[in-house]
Symmetry: D2
Subunit: 150 residues, 4 copies
């Protein structure tokens, strides 16, 4: 079995246009039978999960907090790590590729962990601090880029 | 949605009789539509996952190691935390009830975390160090005990 | 250099008689030039640190919370892990021996991690769930027991 | 008591010129009575600890691995977390300011966590991905910058 877990990362507070990209990303991931792994909270994470569920996909939330009920309502599997910021490392350990949408320093830490592991990373309106990060045009471009490299 | 994640914990090296109980436990969990969460490695964890998959259930492995390919072959979702022993706390944070089968000190630490959180805990051939741990007769008894209290 | 870090573990809420034992323990540890490592919070942890500082020793607190100012006032070094319960594993990884004074399930999880690592463990009014835990008569007996085995 | 813990972060493999800066940094930190906190391994971490000890300072290593003997030889306090990459978050939680010297993606993740917490960050030959990171001329400039803001 080839593990097909892929992360969508990004901020909790983003404008509608960014959330729309995240939702589209979730749909593209869900309809391809990939498993969407995210931080499980609101904003980009929730929008991506909503999209994945609409497309019949599976969602996993790896939360920084410790309550099973503290994730967004579109999670099939909830992992409330209780680890705070350290959960960002656990999240990146759990995937074969990463797509970043918006986000600030938390997202940057996750991109850094992904690059340290040599994972393919695509970015939409997010950090492009390194040639190893692919600046994707849109959701479809990002998914196709990482799928070829997983 | 009510979260239905339940943990089966126990040792990596156990006699066949204990593994048979773990497999039966996995089947009872799987056929009830509960999600089986475990440490994702061999022994009791693998036997329980095999049982859950045979019954059409869903399995999640929260590994102490950091490789996506290091879990047992019956995992639907793999969370390779890379946290070592600290993953035991993450595992217990992720469930509403715990069933222990055999196991040694690692299992004891998980039972302790579960009791600290006030979760229902059933034990089969495992630690019964506290009145709060229910000494179950068999797999069915254990599942029925914790389901009533989740 | 031989690492001389030793843990005192135990509950946040304990009667005066138990806190007095913890303080004595801290003094015995401090005057021997051992480094006292603990969970950094109140109760047994604070009493042991107070004793160690009174004897001119060094104290380290490995906190479950993430604030540098959230530990007890007798800490020389503060490690606010932000890991919640998972910090118990980090604490036990950081020492060569463990002395438990009182405590409940959190303390039990730490004893379990210590036994899993094969560390010497002495217990005063705490869990004695295993022949590998030495039931010490008092603070002096506990310190002498673990020092011979570090 | 004002907590005076400060982090030096950076790569395990760096040219001699970068290690010399790290050692100078350790000396400046040690002679000011600040406590040097680092990842505890080789390269920049070891050079900084060597400098701090030469100046009579105190050093703390927060290791990704789980062995008490796996840190560099200049550590007064060893915290072998066993957390892998997740220890980067614990390290940043433990300080009031961060100075980065060289380094790659692991260092970037730590800078990201520091910015997320609003800590002062100075960089020497390291990532300057954000206006919030101060590009220091040398060790002395970096220490003076962060000390004013701790």
């Amino acid at each position: 079995m080839v593990n097909r877990q892929i992360a969508v990362i990004g901020g909790r507070e983003e404008p509608e246009s960014v959330l729309a990209v995240a939702q589209k990303l979730g749909m593209e991931i869900g309809k391809r039978g990939l498993i969407l792994v995210c931080g499980g909270m609101g904003g980009v994470m929730e929008a991506a999960c909503r999209g994945a569920k609409a497309a019949g996909g599976t969602t996993v939330g790896i939360l920084p907090v410790s309550g099973l009920d503290q994730g967004n309502p579109y999670l099939d599997i909830v992992i409330p790590t209780g680890l705070g910021d350290a959960r960002n490392a656990v999240l990146i350990n759990s995937v074969r590729a990463v797509i970043a949408v918006g986000g600030r320093y938390g997202t940057l830490s996750e991109i850094a962990f992904a690059l340290a592991r040599g994972l393919p990373v695509a970015s939409i309106s997010s950090w492009e601090i390194d040639p190893a990060v692919y600046p994707a045009r849109d959701a479809l471009d990002a998914v196709e880029y990482v799928m070829k490299r997983m």
